[in-house]
């Protein structure tokens, strides 16, 4: 799907990180439209502004006319801005947002992971083959078990955990259940156009469908303390086969337990 030249021109100007998820096109489309609106308004105002400054400078126009502008076109400009905003809101932003927060895919068709943020790392928890997350509790917390996973729970036996490493298969929806152990963090996958605050005491679901393979970084967008600047993780979108074999290898490494 190649964007039309006008969209492409603005995309080239904006230079956002390469988009690699299914809904990124919606986000970028709106981003492009809003920036076109801004550019047109700013250019229009600026041309008028400069023209007026030149034409009505004291040297060229020594006696002011107190009546000012006639006509109603300022109303049309203001009305036009309102109409443009309503269109952007009603036809682009609200539907796109709704598809983010209302239209979650079913868990069966998705890769489901938990991501637990803490100062200053991302803990990732895969449910394993049984599709069920094992029990976690603070009493099990340790340096080697930052999630506090209870390995004696049957559901936990095949659970794979990683730190700062999120692997995902391409072309399949991903549901991330995001939570935090301590502060507010913000889970950011720039190329997926995903950003979600991890709010203490709550679990925030996020979903997206990666459409390209690649190796990128997880960023934290919310000031979370001294190490905020280095709260970086890695995520990679793999082919389904690569992902399956990675997960199998991680699961196999659990076997001795």
């Amino acid at each position: 799907m190649t964007p039309d030249p006008i969209t492409k021109l603005m995309l080239d100007i904006l230079r956002m990180p390469p988009a690699a998820s299914a809904h990124a096109a919606d986000v970028d489309q709106l981003m492009v439209l809003v920036h076109w609106l801004m550019a047109i308004l700013f250019t229009g105002w600026s041309i008028f502004f400069v023209y007026v400054l030149v034409r009505f400078r004291r040297g060229a126009h020594p006696v002011a006319d107190p009546r000012g502008v006639r006509g109603r076109w300022s109303t049309f400009v203001e009305g036009g801005v309102l109409v443009a905003e309503v269109i952007l809101l009603a036809f682009f932003s609200i539907p796109a947002w709704s598809s983010r927060v209302d239209a979650f895919p079913s868990a069966q068709q998705s890769t489901v992971v938990r991501v637990v943020a803490e100062q200053f790392a991302w803990n990732v928890h895969y449910p394993g083959a049984d599709g069920a997350f094992g029990r976690t509790d603070v009493t099990f917390l340790s340096a080697t078990n930052p999630l506090g996973l209870d390995r004696s729970d049957p559901a936990a036996r095949d659970d794979v955990t990683t730190i700062n490493r999120l692997n995902l298969p391409m072309g399949r929806p991903v549901i991330v259940y995001l939570s935090t152990k301590d502060m507010v963090h913000s889970f950011t996958l720039p190329q997926m156009r995903v950003k979600q605050d991890a709010v203490p005491g709550t679990v925030q679901p996020v979903w997206f469908t990666p459409t390209r393979t690649g190796e990128w970084e997880i960023a934290c967008s919310q000031l979370c303390g001294l190490g905020h600047y280095r709260m970086r993780g890695f995520y990679s979108v793999q082919t389904r086969e690569d992902f399956a074999s990675w997960l199998a290898a991680e699961t196999a490494a659990l076997a001795p337990r």
Binding site: F42, V52, D65, W97, P146, G148, G201, Q222, L223
Partner: protein
Amino acid sequence: MFLKHFFSTDHKVIGLLYAFTALFFLLVGFFLIVILRWQLAYPGQPVPVVGPLLGDANAPGGIILPEFYNQLGAMHGTIMVFLGVVPLAVGAFGNYLVPLQIGAPDMAFPRLNLGSYWFYLAGGVVMLSSFFVPGGAANNGWTSYPPLSDLSPTSGQTWWLVGMLCIILSSLLGSINIITTIVQLRAPGMTWFRMPFLVWAQFVTAFLLLLAFPALQAAAILQGMDRVAGTSFFLPSGLVVSGRPLDVSGGGNALLWQHLFWFLAHPEVYVLILPAMGIVAEIIANNTRKPLWGYRLMVYSLFVLGVLSFLVWAHHMFLTGMGTAISAFFQATTMIISIPSVVILTSLILSLWGGSIRFTTPMLFALAFLPMFGMGGLTGLPLGLATTDIPLHDTTYVVGHFHYVVAPGTIFALFAGIYYWFPRITGRMMNDTLGRMHFVGSLVSMNAIFMPMFVQGLAGVNRRLWDGGMEYAHAQGVLSLNVHMSIGAFALAFFQIFFIVNLFASLKQGRVASANPWDATTLEWSEDTASPRVYRDPYDYSPPGAPRDFVPQYVARVVSSGPAEG
């Protein structure tokens, strides 16, 4: 002798106290960010010149630690907003000009007015002192989001709360005073729609301060209880910090703070911008020599802005887990609130049409305000739409957006106001050449600082990063902009020297000004302040048949003398 001014109840003296104190704090806040910008441009390299003065706890060997970096960022925001811009816009300009422009003998409650200044000063002293407590000043962003701020080990955060309570009390007293003065003390003939636009702007601003600040007052008390009395208003159950379960009862809600904070802080944005619009409107009417275009419409827009500003706060919280309905509501209010801003901005630009424009120094700043504020307003659109907020939230795009509103926006308007009313205050003009150099230098360097922030933000670079984003791969392509922006900041610092020299030198050596050097119409330029009476609209410039190109509000009859002079 000097100290007696600190006990004066004269609104003009209090206004000047506010002005000088606020200018001092603007300088302090600016100094903090210049140090911070050094770290962003050259992470981990010792700060030149001032580095050794920062203290070993903050910057060993002159290299800024992340702890100190976060202090600089949090206190820059706090000081600029609460101790710099608002006190200058409302405390100084409001105090000095509102009674004069409506022909009141003083503020309605002169002693309360002095009390308001004292609370402000106390808040400022508390904030500055907090840099010297063990652990340093508050370092959790100017937004002080819990749990981070609740659990922050430095007592500086508690000092921050105490300082905020002082500032809130101050602005509470100040806003009661301004509203009462405007309602009660208008001179005979000064009807509501004969009030200068600046007075209207101060009136609406005062209501915002009066009704929005209590939310932060409540929030600060709750956070203070969390920090001092061990409550958990903002701490949910089950928190684990640094591997240890937190020993509190829990059951709180971290988002409660964000709601209360932004319930204040979004109206606060309009507190920052409305007085600036007021100042710009005065200067534009005066320097175009014609009435404001759409004066009434602008006044109505102020009210719409004021009311709506209480209904948009959660657009700062789109990413905290918001459903479609609530996000749609806040997106809609956010889009609607842009319209009255567009109306005011358009009216100000249209006011130029047909004028005879004098490019005086105050007019240059006022004119630059228009596109700069326009830039700030427009870049608010993608942030106000929840979908485009996803990639932009908490990036430097946001920082660029609100700095365009406040720095080359509001602060330019405040500069304009200082150049414009300086002769009214001192009887002398400020130097024009220095003023123009200050203007050009500031305009160029401010754009050099803030424009690249949009580029970085679109590339996904987050704000509040100690190393300026060096850690991240997606930031590499735009990392060098950090150096450009910082050079812009250093240049901006340099160009403020012109202003500071001009301000102090002109006090003694400025050209002596006549009583009404700008040929202005509003009441503050009247020589007879004993018992003012008002006869006409605020901007009676270039009326047909008048002997000169302006008729002041205090002039009863125009003596017709044939065609108007030039």
